[in-house]
Symmetry: C2
Subunit: 370 residues, 2 copies
């Protein structure tokens, strides 16, 4: 059989406060077109449909529309899991009804062990799970890291293998050896860590979600599809798209999505930026600028906005602040920066208790950023 693999839609996500609704709608429509053109038998969505566990009504409308378009209008089976950005509980709404039209949505670890059966292929939909869910499921409080948990999961999944069929795993985690981009949330917080890919060697294919660049992993049968859109300036040169996978005989093909509005990085002087260069950039593109000028330019952001309405980043190639000091700052941890600031502001060092509070607060903030 033939399926399309997408993931990390992150519907609701903004790029530096610019809403990306139109871009997301457009990319989802392109996926529907690719699915039709490639005549796939199913679509895999490997987690993080939403950007937040409490998505806005606008985001809910968009995801509901996408599921309707792909499953009800295009009449395609959907194989969906929840990612670390989704609320498993909220996403599960309607789950039992979805099955009737072959929209399979797994949000609990326990659901992974019921394969979705196609004529020649079994799909195992393993949602993102926290360690405690694995401890509860296996009734084993000693599970101390994700790799140990995943070993148990894979061992149990294997008991469901039908030797007459191919096996595809759909999952959402950080595979060891992968490269990161800028817009994923680190899931290692709280003891979770990357999982070695060799654990999954008995699957004919693994369709992953979590990392936003398909180049994060370079293996023939374990793939990240990457995110729906470029969700950070660091991804400006990362191609977005979907995998078209055939299970028998095996093949895996990349199909790109054309960005409705692209991220464009410019390194130039103010003079260059305001004379010719802007004519090469589409008005709706998101622009990251690195100014090569060394002198100060008053109100530079507002001036540049007239040429580039959607500036998402404005940096100096050569910093105006004293370089040595800047380097020092860059090498410091948030806690060190806090301590410096405290000394500056109060004239004395934080007490041990204050230091402890700051540390805890920073840890809390880090977690919230997930």
């Amino acid at each position: 059989m033939k399926f399309l693999h997408t993931a990390d839609w992150h519907i609701g996500k903004r790029l530096h406060e610019y809403p990306l609704v139109k871009e997301q709608q457009d990319a989802l429509a392109q996926i529907a077109q690719i699915a039709q053109k490639e005549q796939v038998d199913a679509i895999v969505v490997a987690g993080d449909l939403y950007d937040r566990s409490l998505p806005s009504e606008e985001a809910v409308t968009l995801v509901n529309q996408a599921l309707r378009d792909l499953n009800l209008t295009a009449d395609l089976p959907l194989l969906v899991i929840s990612g670390n950005h989704d609320s498993a509980v909220r996403l599960a709404t309607g789950q039992e009804w979805f099955k009737q039209t072959k929209l399979y949505l797994h949000t609990k670890l326990s659901e992974a062990f019921t394969p979705i059966e196609f004529e020649d292929t079994q799909f195992f939909l393993l949602p993102y799970f926290e360690l405690q869910e694995a401890r509860n499921y296996f009734a084993d409080e000693s599970i101390s890291d994700l790799t140990s948990a995943m070993k148990l999961v894979v061992a149990k999944l294997k008991t469901k293998f039908d030797p007459a069929k191919k096996q595809v795993l759909v999952a959402h985690f950080f595979a060891a050896g992968s490269l990161r981009s800028d817009s994923e949330t680190k899931i290692e917080v709280g003891g979770l860590d990357s999982v070695p890919t060799k654990l999954f060697s008995d699957f004919d294919h693994v369709a992953l979600g979590h990392l936003h660049d398909k180049r994060a992993l370079d293996l023939p049968t374990i793939k990240y599809s990457g995110s729906l859109l470029k969700y950070s300036v660091a991804e400006a040169n990362s191609q977005k798209g979907v995998w078209i996978v055939e299970t028998e005989p095996f093949s895996c093909k990349w199909v790109s999505l054309a960005p409705l509005n692209d991220i464009c990085c410019l390194e130039a002087s103010y003079a260059e930026l305001t004379t010719k260069l802007y004519q090469t950039v589409a008005q709706d593109d998101y622009v990251a600028i690195e100014l090569t000028d060394e002198h100060e330019i008053i109100d530079v952001m507002n001036k540049l906005r007239k040429y580039y309405p959607r500036i998402v980043e404005l940096k100096r190639k050569k910093r105006l602040v004293h370089t040595k000091q800047a380097e020092k700052i860059e090498s410091k941890s948030p806690l060190e920066l806090f301590t410096d600031f405290f000394v500056q502001a109060t004239g004395r060092k934080p007490t041990q208790l204050q230091h402890k509070w700051a540390k805890e607060s920073l840890l809390e903030l880090e977690k919230e950023g997930e």
Copy 2:
């Protein structure tokens, strides 16, 4: 045909910070039992399934479970509308799939005009709507109040009447002449107002949501079912339950729900409360106490909690503060109280601008309370 009419579940609502999950689960289970015992052909839920537009994961779990139990397990058609407390967008998730098992969920005004057809009865599911939705739908910006909007709605609904059948309207609004209880949110804020019941005289029956006491309206064929539970101390003596309605020949019967934990109002002295009286109250009941003592009792709340673990209200029959002053305070508006407090705290009257700010903030707070 025969149907069960319930409304105003307000799943997620708390009683003075006590979560009511168990009570809500129990009441929903009773409804399923009544439906089975009465052998109804359908269940009507007339809005406010949730207490908040952004329900907690726990609330989502509970509502999803209830819909599953009633529609999939008990195999009953469900006729559901969104109320003013629901997010129409969020509640609509899964809507298109729900239909397949006769779970009809209407959350938009436009959907009201497609009746749900049973052999001898048409159901019109009219969700709670804002004036602007009516203005958009009828392309008429001059619609200035809910009654005008409702007239247009009813006129259009009538064009869908099948003369061979009975017509039932399911709706969520404040019917003129109704009595209020304490736990509804006023929906008149923002220009909305009550709607005269005579508008609906062409329906064989009207199953309403919004008001929490079934006694709010005393008409033979226009009924509030009231809320799932007693959601305020003022409702302590209000009976909760569901209507069993037969359309041909018409009959309408009340079936009570037995409260898992009741609200109990006690008016007694501290001595009475701590000697015998507590033995008459179930430990898990919610207790509102009106103390008849006139002298001060140190730490009275904590002392009483030993006898009544779930105190939701503690009042004095005779106020300890100077009575005249207390009466004065009661008659004052929040803005007047603010002004008094400002004078007390700063020694001068608020400026006109400060007065304006206070007024706007209070209005904002009032809206948030919706």
